[in-house]
Amino acid sequence: SQQGEEDPQALSIQEGENATMNCSYKTSINNLQWYRQNSGRGLVHLILIRSNEREKHSGRLRVTLDTSKKSSSLLITASRAADTASYFCAAGGGSQGNLIFGKGTKLSVKP
C-alpha cells in the first residue's frame, strides 16, 4: 500500500506566490524525501529530512516534518514558471531504506 499521500493533488498559482504541498505517511520512517518530476522525465531529488529533524531549508525550499502526526510539508517560496512540475514525497524506512512514493502534487505556476 502507498506510504505517502500528497495534498493537494493539483495546485495552480501565480509567479511570485508561495506554494505549499503536504504529505502524510503511515508507518515508521528513517527519512522523508521530496522529489520533482517534469512531465515525462525522471525524478530529481530536492531535499531529504531525517526522522530526528523538524525543519530543513535549501534555497527557496523549506521542508518540515512532524513524526507525531506522520506528516511533512514542502514550501516553495517566490515561485517561478520553471517550478511547474509534479512534486512527490517519498517515505524512506526499514533496513533496506526503500522509498515509497506518494501520488504527487501537480504544481502549475503561471507567469
Binding site: G42, L43, H45, G97, N98, F101
Partner: protein, 113 residues
C-alpha cells in the same frame, strides 16, 4: 558529468514479445533500483540490487526479471509484456540504502501494442 543513463528512451513492443530495458551509471553507486510508473501515478519499486544482492518486492510479478552483470549496468527484462505493463520505467541509483537520496535516469516509456 556523472549520471544515470537509460536506453532506449522510448520502446514499443508487441504483446507477449520479450523486451529488455537497460540502465547504466557513472556514479559508481552500490545500489540500483527499478521503478514502474503508470500515468499520473506514484513510482512503484519493482526490485533493487545492493551490489550483486537482488531484492525483489513481494508484489512484483514474476514476469519482471532483472540482471546486474557489473556495477555500472542493470537490466530489466519483461518476459511476456501485457497491455497493463505499458508504463514509464525508471532506473535509480544510490550510494547505500538508509538515509540516502536516489539519483534517477530519464526513464524509458514502454508501449505495448
Amino acid at each position: 558529468d556523472a549520471m544515470v543513463i537509460q536506453n532506449p528512451r522510448y520502446q514499443v513492443t508487441q504483446f507477449g514479445k520479450p523486451v529488455t530495458l537497460s540502465c547504466s551509471q557513472t556514479l559508481n553507486h552500490n545500489v540500483m533500483y527499478w521503478y514502474q510508473q503508470k500515468s499520473s501515478q506514484a513510482p512503484k519499486l519493482l526490485f533493487h540490487y545492493y551490489d550483486k544482492d537482488f531484492n525483489n518486492e513481494a508484489d512484483t510479478p514474476d514476469n519482471f526479471q532483472s540482471r546486474r552483470p557489473n556495477t555500472s549496468f542493470c537490466f530489466l527484462d519483461i518476459r511476456s509484456p501485457g497491455l497493463g505493463d505499458a508504463a514509464m520505467y525508471l532506473c535509480a541509483t544510490s550510494p547505500g540504502t538508509a538515509n540516502y537520496e536516489q539519483y534517477f535516469g530519464p526513464g524509458t516509456r514502454l508501449t505495448v501494442t
